[in-house]
């Protein structure tokens, strides 16, 4: 960095890392609009296998495309295939999850090691974690980067920001409420130049719960064999799931005109066709369950054994099970100063794969998109004058926010545990 100013250096060597629940998005500022993506998972091969005893020990943890060469029977996948960020929070003692995080981090940085650039002195790495990640996760992630730097010289400095802040940065919105909903959980985080940490509301509900009710609907429609296949359930959810403007009215309309609402899915590359027939009204349950599992119709599903989203405590954070999205936003906003609240309602940003619901043109008015549903839930509770927007390219928002943060925040700003921001520098 001797011959370059900090700004010039960062134009080349700012590096973003988004540890998402399913994918790890990573890359330097020079990637442009989109980062590289690999699945956020690692495979621990069975070292007792005869093949390995004969041929030599494999690596402890395998990541990226290499995993495909090791995958064995489905029964063992649950034990050996680890998704470290499945719930956004890694337990303190979950060493296997941390091993995966270290391996994918090392992979990501090595992937972009500059070749023969004498000015390179390590990346300015800005990583992003769930807003509810406890302090020990920050400590472990700093340690991991330090260890990687000691072996490779690839990290000059590292900082960590919460994912909702990164989303707000990527969307050029300094004051807003970010609702980030992934596979396992949802975080509602007000932002006003800083994430307002004391006002974060976490929900123990995400895309995985929509899969659960889709599975139950398939079971009820006579497809009990397919209801167990996670991939098929997810495809069905994405193909037929709808968010109703009003669930009771939508069900009435669908039962009155079953052909208009009929849900048929052909699974590509197979002979499987799923037809819900007269049960097609149930497609509205999928979307409603994501936004509002408290509707009375779901009681019968809980009574028949479908697990009810429960309140759970992970680390120091309570993840609420049954709170609807409207209540969650109001609860988060009302923990902020009264003067700020109207400005927060003026921009609610929805981010994450769990908000990607489409509306077929012929069902407009009965089915709605995520932004409209949130507005309706807030209006029911007396909150008007709300602007809700679904994040564009939500998959890359967090990485983009990391790149801007890493570029703009001065390298001389040292990490502060009180403020939870700044740089941890490994070299001057």
């Amino acid at each position: 960095m001797a011959s370059l100013s900090e700004a010039e250096y960062k134009r080349k060597y700012t590096f973003g890392e988004d540890y998402g629940t399913s994918f790890y998005k990573f890359g330097p500022i020079t990637c442009g609009e989109r980062p590289e993506v690999i699945e956020n998972r690692g495979y621990f091969p069975d070292e007792t296998m005869i093949m390995f005893q004969l041929m030599g020990k494999p690596r402890e943890v395998v990541i990226g495309e290499e995993i495909a060469q090791f995958l064995g029977a489905r029964e063992e996948l649950a034990d050996r295939l680890v998704y470290p960020m499945r719930n956004g929070v890694i337990e303190r003692g979950d060493e296997r999850a941390w091993r995966v995080v270290e391996e994918i981090t090392r992979y990501g940085l090595e992937r972009f090691r500059p070749k023969a650039d004498p000015t390179f002195d390590g990346f300015f790495v800005c990583a992003s974690l769930s807003a509810v990640a406890p302090r020990y996760m920050y400590e472990r992630l700093f340690d991991i980067h330090k260890r990687i730097d000691e072996g490779t010289g690839l990290v000059k400095a590292v900082t960590i920001i919460p994912q909702p802040l990164a989303v707000a940065i990527a969307h050029k919105t300094p004051t807003c409420v970010v609702v980030e909903s992934g596979h396992g959980n949802t975080q509602v985080c007000p932002v006003s130049r800083y994430p307002i940490r004391r006002a974060i509301v976490a929900l123990n509900r995400g895309g995985g719960d929509a899969n659960a009710i889709t599975s139950q609907i398939l079971y009820d429609a006579g497809y009990s064999d397919l209801a167990k296949e996670e991939t098929i359930v997810r495809m069905v959810k994405e193909a037929i799931g709808l968010v109703p403007r009003d669930l009771d009215e939508a069900i009435r309309a669908a039962k009155a005109e079953p052909e208009r609402f009929r849900a048929v899915v052909k699974i590509p590359g197979t002979r499987i066709t799923i037809d819900l027939g007269d049960e097609s009204w149930a497609r509205f349950l999928i979307g409603e369950y994501v936004f509002n599992p408290g509707h009375e119709i779901f009681q019968s599903y809980f009574a028949r054994g479908m697990p009810r989203p429960r309140d759970v405590k992970i680390g120091d954070v309570l993840f609420r099970g049954m709170l609807d999205f409207g209540e969650a936003i109001i609860e988060a906003v009302e923990m902020c100063p009264v003067e700020l609240q109207p400005y927060l309602y003026r921009k609610v940003l929805l981010s994450g794969g769990n908000f990607q619901w489409s509306v077929p043109p012929e069902l407009e008015g009965i089915a709605v998109d995520s932004a409209t549903k949130i507005k309706l839930l807030l209006r029911e509770k007396g909150v008007e004058d709300v602007s809700v927007e679904v994040a564009r390219e939500p998959k890359f928002s967090v990485w983009r926010g990391c790149i801007i943060y890493g570029y703009a925040v001065s390298a001389s700003f040292e990490w502060s545990w009180d403020r939870m921001e700044g740089w941890v520098r490994f070299r001057p």
Partner: protein, 247 residues
């Protein structure tokens, strides 16, 4: 295996490398199976046969050969068919900066990248005899070097008093570094401010900042991704660590 090596050639060609004859390399001892030269340097490839399955000594010898060749090229890869790749210990390869290419039916996958290493200059090969004249010449040079070191030591003794002045210069250098950091920060804030000049001024309000309408890119932000344009966070973040306190 041999019939699939054209896939390896295509893989290297797609990255700007051209094949060169192994004989042209002028190597003594171990030689690679294929060699390529490109703008980034010299790359060697050793192919792994199916013997690697069930014959550990074959694989060990291959790795030793690769290690011996590693100093003579900038990149070195083992190329293995998919079946063989499943039994290879990539940790050993990573340790010795050797990459791994897996040859599939229609394409080659870079499972493990070979990091760039500079090529070492020619060294004395083990076992080469060294004649007495050479030893004498080296000894005489050593004597001359000792004399020069003695002279330099004397000069250093005279320079020692200057170290006090140098240490005061070091303090000055630290101050220059601090100033440089401050200029960087101001430069970033200027970037951000110039990006916002194109946007209409926000209405006066108490705490929050509204989102900005899209404006034309300023020259200072040229070359940066589009999400930098008109982004009010650039200015906000440039002030981090100075005066603001989070809520």
């Amino acid at each position: 295996m041999a019939e699939k090596l054209y896939l390896v050639k295509s893989w290297f060609k797609s990255r700007g490398f051209e094949p060169i004859g192994v004989d042209e390399l002028g190597l003594e001892g171990d030689r690679p199976d294929m060699a390529f030269r490109g703008p980034q340097g010299l790359a060697f490839v050793l192919s792994v046969g199916e013997k690697a399955i069930g014959n550990r000594s074959y694989f060990t010898e291959l790795v030793m050969k690769a290690v011996a060749l590693r100093e003579k090229c900038n990149f070195l890869y083992l190329a293995a068919p998919r079946l063989v790749a499943t039994v290879l210990d990539t940790e050993v390869l990573r340790k010795h900066a050797i990459g791994l290419l897996v040859i599939g039916d229609e394409r080659v996958i870079e499972v493990l990248a070979s990091p760039y290493k500079p090529v070492e200059k020619a060294r004395l090969v083990n076992g080469t005899s060294v004649d007495a004249d050479l030893v004498n010449e080296l000894l005489s040079r050593l004597e001359l070097l000792e004399q020069r070191i003695g002279t330099l030591e004397a000069e250093i003794t005279t320079l020692r008093p200057l170290t006090v002045e140098l240490s005061s210069l070091k303090g000055l250098s630290e101050q220059v570094n601090k100033l440089s950091a401050r200029i960087d920060m101001i430069s970033r804030r200027l970037d951000a401010l110039s990006a916002r000049i194109a946007a209409p001024a926000p209405p006066t309000r108490l705490t929050p900042t509204p989102s900005q309408p899209q404006g034309p890119a300023r020259p200072e932000l040229e070359g940066l991704p589009s999400f930098f344009k008109d982004n009010p966070w650039l200015e906000i973040l440039a002030r981090r660590g100075q005066d603001e306190v989070p809520a």
